[in-house]
């Protein structure tokens, strides 16, 4: 039995490793094709890893990516594609910023209030898509894309000076939040500060794993993702599950912007990072929807982001990193599917071989089996 455990780990690692190798190789080909040195950009970027200020920036960026990718992943686990994480986190961050700029409670209440505001805003926004799907059969992909566009307009409206906007120079902001809603970072001196909410990201990752793997609800959710028909026959209410998953996904998405909002910017302005929801899709894919895998993927993405600007100083274009991110997503999709099918076939063969060899559970090796556990 242990053999099959080991095999699963091997298969889980094989997919990303193959994908990354292919992506690196293809990026090198792109470099060669444009007449550049195919190795140096990578060594430049690797070198960046050794600088502590870059490390801090990578971790901070990865924190945002991580939460956004978890939001996408929970949808993926039940075959829902919440493409609207982008709109959900931006709108949620803005609502939290607005509440934070107008309510001034003690920190012990203010922080939960802001977190709750963000969760509810995100869940509300994704919930619209969820309700449309279960009542009208509207594809959540289409609905969430549309909601992204609407979110952008809502944000623009809220920025108007006679709504909640505060003009700072040429910038639209929502005004500075009260300090009770600020979350102090982990100070590393000259290297900078790590967002305090990195702790939240870690907790969310643990919670994600526990809920999915150790609760009845998580089992139902995974069953729905693995086989809608089998899940329905097992007693899962498919509509309620779709709606619940969309709400959780949106709630998580709502938190994605908070580490930077509450730890650094303290206002929602034009400079607030955008596009994190879309990057989260690629990161969730690369991380195979597993909380540990997503953590590695988020760090990799953040590294490509934060190390690439240096390329400009060495005569390369920093867009290489973007090309690379795209190539990773492409190769991930191909290699995961290939590895999955190969693994299934291989296991079928091996089970056949084991049975032929008389290794049957419950036969004479029963005691060994129990001892091996």
């Amino acid at each position: 039995m242990k053999k099959f455990d080991k095999e699963r780990v091997l298969l889980a690692v094989a997919g990303p490793v193959i994908a990354l190798a292919v992506a690196f190789a293809l990026s090198a080909i792109v470099l060669i094709a444009s007449g550049k040195n195919p190795v140096e950009p990578f060594s430049v970027m690797f070198e960046q890893l050794s600088f502590s200020d870059i490390q801090v920036r990578i971790i901070n960026q990865a924190t945002l990516y991580y939460i956004a990718a978890l939001a996408v992943a929970i949808g993926f686990r039940m075959n829902l594609f919440n493409i609207g994480v982008d709109g959900q986190y931006q709108l949620a961050a803005m609502m939290a910023a607005i509440v934070g700029a107008h309510a001034n409670l003690p920190a012990a209440l203010q922080v939960p209030l802001l977190l709750l505001t963000a969760i509810l805003t995100g869940a509300f926004w994704s919930g619209i898509a969820g309700v449309l799907k279960v009542t009208r059969g509207v594809s959540e992909v289409v609905a969430t894309i549309m909601l992204n566009a609407i979110a952008t307009s809502v944000i623009a409206y809220l920025w108007l000076p006679d709504v909640f906007g505060v003009k700072v120079g040429n910038n639209n902001t929502t005004g500075e939040m009260y300090e009770s809603g600020w979350i102090p970072g982990i100070d590393l001196g000259k290297s900078g500060e790590i967002y305090g909410l990195v702790v939240l990201a870690v907790l969310l990752g643990i919670g994600y794993w526990v809920v999915l793997n150790r609760t009845r609800f998580g089992f139902d959710l995974r069953a729905s993702g693995a086989s809608e028909t089998a899940a329905a026959a097992s007693g899962v209410d498919p509509k309620r599950m779709v709606l619940t998953a969309m709400l959780i996904s949106g709630g998580l998405a709502g938190l994605a912007g908070l580490p930077i909002l509450m730890g650094d910017t303290h206002t929602y302005s034009l400079n607030f990072p955008t596009g994190i929801g879309f990057l989260g899709i690629g990161i969730a894919l690369l991380g195979r929807n597993s909380p540990v895998g997503i953590a590695f993927a988020a760090l990799l993405w953040a590294w490509l982001d934060k190390a690439s600007p240096e390329l400009d100083f060495h005569g390369y274009d920093k867009e290489i990193a973007v090309i690379m991110q795209g190539l990773i997503v492409l190769s991930v999709v191909v290699s995961y599917e290939a590895v999955r099918e190969w693994g299934l076939r291989r296991q079928q063969r091996r089970v056949g071989a084991e049975l032929a060899a008389g290794h049957v559970l419950g036969a004479d090796n029963n005691t060994k089996e129990a001892a091996g556990r």
């Binding site: 009845r216 693995a226 089998a230 007693g235 091996r350 049975l355 419950g362």
Partner: protein
Amino acid sequence: MANHDIHLTVRKGTVHALVGENGAGKSTLMKILYGMQKPDEGTIAIDGEQVSFSSPADAIVRGIGMVHQHFMLADNLTVLENVVLGSEKLYGIGGKARRKIKEISERYGLDVHPDLLVEELGVAARQRVEILKVLYRGARTLILDEPTAVLVPQEVDALFANLRELKAEGLSVIFISHKLGEVLSVADDITVIRRGTTVGTAVPAETTPRQLAEMMVGSELPTPETAESTVTDRPVLTVDKLRLVAPGGKAVLDDISFTIHAGEVLGIAGVEGNGQTELVDALIGLRHADSGTIALEGEEITAWATRKRREQGIGYIPEDRHRHGLLLEAPLWENRILGHVTETPNAKGVWLDPKAAQADTRRIVTEYDVRTPGIDVTAASLSGGNQQKLIVGREMSHHPKFLIAAHPTRGVDVGAQAAIWDHIREARREGLAVLLISADLDELIGLSDTLRVIYNGKLVADADPATITPEELGSAMTGAATGHLEHEETPETGKAPESPEDEAR
């Protein structure tokens, strides 16, 4: 083994019907003839020349074309586009192809218009497009897989007229069906398949539907016999005037009423597609009745959701274990949890209890003889029989009051079949009520205490399994007999006349 010792000879310019029960091996045979599956032994010859197909493309080159039961057409393309799709090299995609389509259509009276969108066509017209598609590719032998299953009677007549055109032009048609009346009206030759092998041929002019039914179901004595009756007078499941309407407004279940008592197995006989699936769905809660009631031990459960029904003691062995019974890519122990996630030993409160579930999976694997090297392998790596034993073990482990067993031994080898029968019998002795649906009439007669026949969504006949024969049951399944089926010693109206060999029984 799905097929063995198959002998089939199709003469040129004839319609050759292949009949057999569901699961008899017709589909496998067709897959082999069409190159979708390779035979382990034996040969296929066309016009005396031995051939071997490694893909449908090979079969098409040799002039064999298949019209599938489920149409393979793109709705939002025109007929022309659908026909040329994949065969653009033959006559191009423009005027030449259009002329060819019109020519074929006129020659065989198919009435196909190349420029209509497929989504505008009805079922019968789509079927004709499928036939034309095959002819367009140069087929001289057509395989039609249950072509009448989707048609209303007038459309069936029209289809048969088309088939006669085809054979008049020297083409051969292999016609798969289990509707005996149709087979006898259209076929020139009939080959009967049972349990994966050809058991005989028949000439339509000299055969009655009854004789054909006998050949189809075989005349061996049933093996899965229940020795002593354990039926009590305590009703467990009571269904009253259940009615279920399909989206189109047609009643797929109508006026279904029955009671199953503790210790009773109620067998439902019927040709597939007469409402069995819908009945099971209504009982497990995947569909909700449009009218009528279902009661479990006196308590009305009509409005209960699936999960509540399962928690309250309804066990479910689904007809299609891959779609409804298993998570194929999940390990066995997670499959043991499926359907019982809220019950011990799988859960404590809202939390899963993987340790206990794993331990219990090991117990099921041992007790139900599921052949597997471990409980961490995926369900997909087990054979069908072992998957089924796992499902039976899982459902029995929760001591259901009422068990829905839909084709419990379909696709299962003989050994596993006997084991599954034993488990059902044992649970029945302990007071389980069972609804048994099966295409295997021997299984039905052998296991059931009471038999009902479903036809067109209605329970049209009932019979005593102690005296009924598969042949007699078979005729009721085709709608030829209704009411209470008596064995021939006390014949009743509405029942086909007895043939001499029944006297010997």
